[in-house]
């Protein structure tokens, strides 16, 4: 039987705020245990939540970026369950009236543009952490993370493969960083995905029973976990078994998913509107103000690069990988005053490769757009060959300096002076009369011999096109 895979993704993006969503405690990562858990975060008796304006604004910003509806009136609800990392015994979340409803994410997968619809995105508070080591069979609770603002972004089950799911997650990751609402740091847990996975026979309308996979803290694990889970479900069904709806944890060490024991109890979360908080009103003015500060979005920019600059979809996608990279490219293009293709080739090629090698961010690149522009100008005016330019780029990256000064200092300029080249060629032909005769007798292969010798004679600096043309001219006699 042929199976269709159905995937929906729930993402928790930690919102970039200084203080927590309902308290004035810091959200900084890496503090001493419980140093950033204030009375509200610890749920001491009598303390109350007050909503952080910035968290709401980030949610609005996201809603606008994905073309969703931003609710004019939004409500917080309590999700009740007991867990030691949840100090109040309930999580303040949103249930019936989230800030954001609908919207879509566009992304590239296998060179194709695809769209995934979003169900909703709502604000909620994060829980603390349970640490299991070193306490003789006991767990230690650190509540520093408790109360950190999260945006939970829920996709529709529109994804049909693990590769698409990862491409969606990457695009979402790129977007939340792009619009400045999340730092995207996956190691620190700022961007976490859960996948709802089910399978059904091809052609069947009804969805299969789904399992939720948690703990997907990298894109690589996400893909492997989904692939494993799909195989598990198909195998189970083909063996005549059935899928139990459950929460499963991905174990990267063993590359498998397993049912979570702590979630065995059928949960009844008893959602109800939080009586400590009032409805949040989001005015049209506020939405308009946020809209005015929204940057051009990656999907729009990608389309513009293809349309206005004639770049390939692949290059445009690469260049819009981050706002910083796109900015670098655009600055370079502006400085150079055109030739987007040349700019794109260099940014996507040498520049990105150098970044990767040195494990740096775009902002930390030692070669500025102005330096790269100077370099590209010398390619355009024929001073540098492509090969020489690459060498010079490496020098700029390693040691810095001004392009023209380096060219002069290193004697790197290309020889495009026809008189100089002709002298070299004439001397060469005079020194090898036998090969000249061979060529003239129709042995075309000898041409390569002359090119090599001529290049050697001028230390590789000859303009290759010009050298070729002059050589043919002279050999033709």
């Amino acid at each position: 039987m042929d199976w269709e895979v159905v995937i929906g993704i729930e993402t928790h993006a930690q919102l970039a705020t200084r203080s927590k969503i309902f308290s004035g405690a810091s959200t900084r990562f890496g503090a001493e245990p419980n140093a950033q858990a204030c009375a509200v975060d610890l749920a001491l008796p009598g303390v109350l939540p007050v909503l952080n304006r910035q968290a709401v604004e980030h949610a609005i910003r996201f809603g606008l970026a994905v073309g969703a509806t931003v609710a004019p009136r939004s409500v917080f609800a309590r999700k009740n369950y007991f867990y030691p990392d949840l100090p109040k015994g309930y999580q303040i979340s949103q249930y019936e009236r989230p800030v954001v409803s609908g919207g879509a994410i566009r992304f590239f997968s296998a060179e194709q543009e695809k769209t995934v619809r979003l169900t909703r995105a709502h604000l909620e508070e994060d829980a603390g952490k349970s640490l299991h080591e070193d306490f003789q069979g006991r767990s230690g609770i650190d509540l520093n993370r408790a109360g950190t603002p999260l945006l939970e972004i829920v996709s529709e089950p529109d994804l049909r493969s693990a590769a698409d799911a990862v491409a969606y997650a990457r695009a979402l990751h790129q977007l939340v960083i792009w619009i400045g609402i999340c730092d995207g740091n996956m190691q620190e847990g700022s961007f976490r995905c859960d996948a709802n996975v089910s399978v059904r026979p091809v052609g069947q309308d009804e969805l299969g029973t789904r399992c939720e996979i948690k703990n997907l803290n990298s894109f690589r694990f996400m893909e492997k976990a989904i692939l494993y889970e799909v195989r598990r479900q198909i195998r189970t069904l083909e063996d005549g078994g059935s899928i139990i709806q459950e929460t499963r944890l991905y174990d990267p060490e063993r590359d498998e998913t397993r049912a979570m024991r702590s979630k065995e109890d059928a949960q009844d979360y008893r959602y109800f509107p939080d009586p400590d908080l009032l409805p949040v009103r989001i005015s049209e003015d506020w939405v308009a103000q946020v809209r005015a500060t929204l940057p051009e979005l990656p999907a729009d920019m990608r389309a513009r690069f293809v349309q206005s600059y004639g770049l390939s979809a692949y290059d445009a996608d690469l260049l819009t990988g981050s706002q910083a990279l796109a900015q670098y490219f655009q600055t370079l293009h502006q400085l150079l005053g055109g030739d987007a293709k040349l700019c794109a080739n260099w940014v996507c090629g040498e520049f990105l490769a150098a970044l990767r090698r040195s494990e740096r961010e775009v902002q930390e690149a030692p070669v500025t757009p102005q330096q790269l522009c100077d370099l590209l100008r010398r390619i355009q005016d024929g001073t540098l060959s492509g090969k020489m330019a690459k060498e010079l780029f490496d020098v700029l990256w390693q040691e810095g300096g001004a392009v023209d000064a380096l060219i002069a200092q290193r004697g790197l300029s290309q020889i495009s002076d026809a008189g100089v080249l002709e002298q070299i060629i004439d001397a060469l032909l005079a020194a090898h009369p036998a090969q000249v005769a061979e060529f003239r007798a129709g042995k075309d292969k000898v041409f390569g011999f002359f090119v090599g010798r001529a290049m050697k004679a001028c230390a590789g600096r000859a303009n290759p096109e010009q050298l070729n043309a002059l050589l043919r001219q002279r050999l033709a006699g």
């Binding site: 245990p33 140093a35 009375a39 509200v40 007050v50 952080n52 030691p84 009586p275």
Partner: protein, 95 residues
Amino acid sequence: MPLNDTDLKRLARLARIRLEPQELASLAPQFAGILDLIQQLQAVPTQGIEPLAHALDLEQRLRADEVTEADGRALFQPLAPEMEQGLYLVPQVIE
């Protein structure tokens, strides 16, 4: 519809309150009385009436995103029944 012992036990489990058998026995009739009381609401016609969460029609005030709370460990940790290395200790959490 009165609740039987299984229902009460399920509720107690949900609320994380251990009930001793004698408590369960006295709770059952009391709970039946409470259910009778709140059952009266079922007869009230409320079609088209919006539920009311707060008596006063107010909206949420928003806080500026500022860190106002200092490290309060010295104040809060002496309250804890069991702590080690700054962490609240509980029986093993199983995931």
